[in-house]
Symmetry: C2
Subunit: 140 residues, 2 copies
């Protein structure tokens, strides 16, 4: 199995609301999106939004109804950007569940949850440089 992720799909209860949230934070859906699903190009992979019931059935799993052990992160280049992105997410209808602050691993971050409760850490990590296109490159 090659070392990559092709898509991250987030289950949602109201696609229009979720799509609008991601559009309000500045993202643009692909023309491949339909009435039932929204796709966003995120680097070399795709973020999908799809009805949570459909996603659970399609994934062969039972839905717990809450958070299930997956957190996304969005890294930025400065601590100031962390504050700006979290504020924008709050204005767009997200909820800031951890205010931005210094972290135990030497960085600076906060967390918002999207309208369906999916958490995004917004982080400045001085040990992980971002390339020009926003990619993260770990040491070998």
């Amino acid at each position: 199995m090659e070392q990559r992720i092709s898509m991250v799909t987030l289950g949602v209860t109201d696609l229009a609301r979720s799509r609008s949230f991601y559009e309000q934070i500045g993202w643009r859906p692909s023309g491949d999106s339909t009435e039932d699903v929204a796709f966003f190009q995120v680097g070399g992979l795709v973020l999908g939004l799809w009805g949570r019931e459909d996603l659970a059935a399609d994934s062969g799993v039972a839905d717990s109804g809450g958070w299930g052990g997956v957190t996304l992160a969005h890294n930025v280049r400065t601590t100031g950007e962390v504050d700006v992105v979290l504020a924008a997410a709050g204005r767009a209808g997200g909820e800031v569940v951890r205010e931005p602050a210094e972290t135990f691993w030497g960085g600076y971050s906060g967390v918002f949850v999207d309208p369906d409760g999916h958490p995004w850490e917004v982080a400045y990590n001085p040990g992980w440089e971002l390339t020009e296109d926003g990619s993260v490159r770990l040491p070998e």
Copy 2:
């Protein structure tokens, strides 16, 4: 907020077991990994494995204990590769929860869950070409 994901962190209950699973399917952790966390370079982002309790606390969310509305996908270039990857995941200690078959969207896929129940759809999608480096590129 720029349109990207920097990291996907999966909460795990036994890091050694989970790390071993991903190593057995052919992945190589970064030298940045520690006793408490494993990092894998996956394209321009990072897959992290971290204790689920720590991740829930860090993310400002309550843990449902089950699946929480997030499914990952790994796209491949042929239907045969779907079968091969699912079989390898099964041998490594994953569970195939949807056997590979034609899908309603015109592709071919199946789903395995990793040792912590995180689902991965392994998919051949004739409408989404993979670039040489494995990236997916959606239409604008």
